[in-house]
Symmetry: C2
Subunit: 576 residues, 2 copies
């Protein structure tokens, strides 16, 4: 029997509950958003006792399907003030699924000042007092837990930034190589910190494992699905070879690479930080150009990046981080960015929010443009130690802007805008505006169609078709985020006719269900509407579905493009 | 002819405009809110080029009427994100009125990094580049301008905090003794700083002066009005004798004196900081227990507070400041609070927002409870110098809470809750929730009726009658804020039958009009609805008309009272 684990920190009790029938067919984002919408008062303080932190594996997590090992986390976000779902690779989703944990709900807040950890195993979940690992970075915690509990232990952990409850704090999950992947966005680590849970360990010894209703059908569909992933040029070649950082040169070419805190659309240092350079550097230094963030990944867009002495420096080194500190902060030294990436991983802080916050800080004159060494120093000595400056930067781009009177602050719903300029890639601007998550490229990745010509072509510089494109992708993504699938399956799903039916076949084979494509679309719509209803009840309005003013008034080179959607056009997104 | 002065900083031009007919009958808050609502896009960045800063004297400013010399300032607030009006004594309102300046509108934003000042005289307004007085505190700027332009010059000025565009920055106005009074709340000083105007000087030499349509009728009404002010025990005795600080002991007795960041309702150090102790200290040290903030004030609730050596320390030393650093921060030394008050005046920072921010900072462990010396040090060395810590505290209570993960943060619409606990004085809680200004006691001062039994009696601990009380007072206050009158005229207006008709008679005699009491009520309603419409368009909702959660969950001693209004009850405020 699947189960819900519920941890109540008000009285330090735990319960194993049956899965209510209305939650039984939901996983991942569909489940976390449904639970948050049902159980969290929308106007509560995100760091107070009435918020809840919910983890849920996807519908296909734990199966042998490729790329299905993602875990969703959900809560009211301390960054946006709205609902938040963020999903991650690593080993936890598959362990949850094998333990038949449908969701873990953490609620309440401990009395006193003590900290705790949770231990999950086949019996359920228990609460321990925690003192020894407090204040440590993510890597030290994982090392300690692997020594204590064995190499196979699953770990969900917050770093010092989560302990400080800063709005950029993320939650990290151990990956198969003992490194981490993170629920990056929206400050979910601060919510975990507010509940004073330093880490969750997972032991799946004796787990009952996954039941597949129709194993043969599942296998057949899985083969078709995996072949589609391997056949598509983006998921089969581009991402495996260069990682997500393949995008630096592509966005530079398109004039959509936000540069110097979103002042320009091209970066003259693009060659030094691009995926091609990174690939060659990794190979020359004996690193690994390919690495999967979870078992069963066939794309393997992660990597191991070594320093110039051939020593491990970082992994999970993503385009958005490299763009954010590179083009957006004018840092041309990839090694400095890698160093910063490693420190951010260890501190447990969202590298997108933080990189954009550094761009605003540079605009405010807090540090020189392009000074990667100073970025690393501020990360370690200011954010890591919780100085006032560190806390401001660690509270995100919006906080830096408010504290230093900067008006060029690229945020929507107070969440930093990622690596694609919405003036020159207009579809992604619609996603930034309308996603209930705040500015988030993954919520409806129009770059696929605007720039990569996946799923057709929609001119990035024109308004035509962008609302529909973003809407369709956001609906599809909400559904995909519920399956445990990596977002990159969208590339073959958009281009290869067999891919999406195979995904639906896998879900049907897993549960003995008979979902159609329409059912999946309806699921996506329901998720978006549930999330938006939470946000409206929390006090967000259409006025929060807007880009900052400067995108309208300041044209961006080289296209001299401005953001020219009217409010009415943006609001038409919700007509479905 | 009355005129509008308009300053456009985009191109450094100024214009003298006729007063549009729809603005002719408006003054003070009615006029600033009408202009802001008409000309400022509600979703603009408050510190960007699309916000406007508007000054307007009241309808009776410049006349011989008692207590009519208040100046309104309005803009979109960087603190609340909504519309803001804040009014002030000092000499500027009467100079504006004598110069027949109906309003001054400052719009746009200068190119480059230069700073400017404005010079107003009978010809209009001109723009000067400013370098010499940048970075100086308010007192030094006023001294310098008096040397340069003569003792009689009017001055409107921002201190270093306004230059830094921090959300607690105020705008100060020279008073008759060369000291200052401030447009305190909502960060209007940051708006002036964003426009890079350090000060405005006013020369009323050759001013045409006020025209009174019916001088005899005006004089007769003015006599009745002044007598009412003098006859009422609060405006005629309590305030003149003890200043606003008469309230410390009264609120302590009522259990409504927020103590230790709104943890308790009584302060064991109340005797050391109360109005009675302050009065005796002032007298013993050769200070002045009475002092008017503008010519024509018959209440004179201000004072001159000397240090123990008999040297001038501060004036305009208000209950809210003394409560905020005293009871709310547990500081028992009145001299420390006076020192802090003087530094805040010089820096140009709202003493309510800042005192409450210190309470949250103490809760976060940033400085010890009750440490007045450290408060003064932080004001001078951190806020005054713009360190990161200083900027966080100078950005207000909400910013401190967000940056340090504190959940007991007494704000509404991100503006700090003043000196009356809404759990034990429930009427004021309705005002805090619903005022378009954010938490603001002056917007509808139910303390009059809840605590002082002025205008009847409404039990502060019960819900009955509070919505109606707050609504009636907010409507009346919006109208009074449009006349140039001090809010303290509300005491006789509520209790002495002749007072309000005399006020209306003065307005009619001044303008040759025939307004009735209903017209005044309708004006108040229109102002509130105009302001609320701006806020809704800016993205605020009913969810912003709420007190923080902890007022519901944490009972406050000695009455163990909680905030128990439902959302529906609060929202019924707007049914008019």
């Amino acid at each position: 029997m699947d189960k819900i684990l519920r941890v109540n920190l008000n009285d330090l009790t735990t319960r194993v509950e049956e899965v209510p029938s209305e939650w039984a067919g939901l996983g991942g984002r569909a489940l976390t958003s449904t639970i948050v919408a049902k159980e969290v008062p929308p106007t509560c303080h995100a760091l107070g006792p009435n918020n809840k932190l919910v983890f849920a594996p996807g519908l296909l997590s734990g199966t042998a399907s490729s790329n299905s090992g993602r875990l969703s986390a959900g809560a009211k976000s301390p960054l946006t003030g709205g609902i938040k779902e963020s999903n991650v690779g690593g080993t936890a989703a598959q362990m949850f699924a094998r333990l038949r944990i449908h969701a873990l709900i953490i609620e309440g807040m401990p009395k006193g000042d003590g900290w705790y950890s949770l231990r999950i195993n086949k019996e359920g979940v228990s609460i321990q007092e925690e003192t020894g690992l407090l204040g440590l970075g993510n890597f030290a915690v994982i090392d300690a837990l692997q020594s204590l509990l064995g190499k196979k232990t699953g770990v969900i952990v917050i770093g010092p930034v989560g302990e400080m409850r800063l709005s950029s704090a993320n939650i990290s999950v151990k990956d198969p190589s003992g490194k981490i992947r993170s629920h990056g966005r929206g400050g979910l680590g601060a919510v975990m910190g507010s509940k004073r849970i330093k880490f969750i360990s997972i032991d799946d010894e004796g787990a009952p494992g996954i039941q597949i209703a129709d194993p043969e059908k599942f296998k057949a569909a899985s083969r078709v699905f995996t072949k589609a992933l391997m056949d598509h040029p983006v998921s089969g070649q581009g991402l495996p070879t260069y990682g997500t950082n393949v995008l630096v040169n592509i966005l530079h070419e398109a004039g959509g690479l936000p540069t110097r805190n979103f002042t320009y659309g091209q970066f003259d240092g693009h060659e030094q930080i691009c995926g091609e350079t990174m690939h060659d550097t990794i190979v020359a230094r004996g690193g690994k150009p390919r690495h999967g963030c979870h078992a069963g990944c066939v794309i393997q867009c992660s990597q191991v990046y070594n320093d110039k002495d051939g020593q491990y420096l970082t992994s999970g080194f993503e385009y958005e981080t490299i763009w954010g500190l590179g083009a957006n902060c004018l840092i041309k030294e990839l090694d400095d960015i890698a160093q910063a990436d490693s420190v951010m991983d260890d501190l447990g802080i969202d590298s997108i929010e933080t990189a954009v916050a550094f761009g605003v800080a540079m605009e405010a004159g807090l540090l020189p443009w392009g000074d990667g060494k100073e970025v690393v120093r501020i990360l370690r000595d200011e954010i890591g130690k919780g100085t006032a400056l560190g806390r401001v930067i660690g509270s995100g781009a919006g906080a830096v802007g408010r504290t230093y009177g900067v008006t060029r602050v690229p945020v929507v719903k107070n969440q930093a805008i990622p690596a694609y300029d919405p003036r020159s890639v207009k579809g992604i601007g619609i996603t930034y505006c309308t996603s209930p998550m705040g500015a988030d490229h993954t919520a409806g990745y129009t770059i696929a169609t605007n720039i990569l010509n996946v799923g057709g072509q929609v001119d990035p510089l024109k308004k035509d078709g962008q609302i529909e494109l973003s809407r369709n992708l956001q609906i599809a993504t909400a559904a995909i985020d519920s399956t445990g699938m990596c977002i990159f399956i969208a590339f073959p799903a958009l281009d290869i006719p067999e891919c999406l039916p195979a995904l639906i076949d896998m879900i049907n084979a897993r549960f003995g269900a008979s979902l159609t494509g329409d059912d999946v679309v309806n699921l996506g719509k329901t998720i978006l509407k549930t999330e938006r209803a939470f946000n409206l009840a929390a006090g967000l309005t259409a006025a929060d579905d807007r880009l900052p003013e400067f995108f309208k008034s300041d044209p961006v080179a080289p296209h001299q493009a401005v953001w020219d959607f009217t409010n009415e056009e943006i609001d038409a997104f919700w007509d479905f």
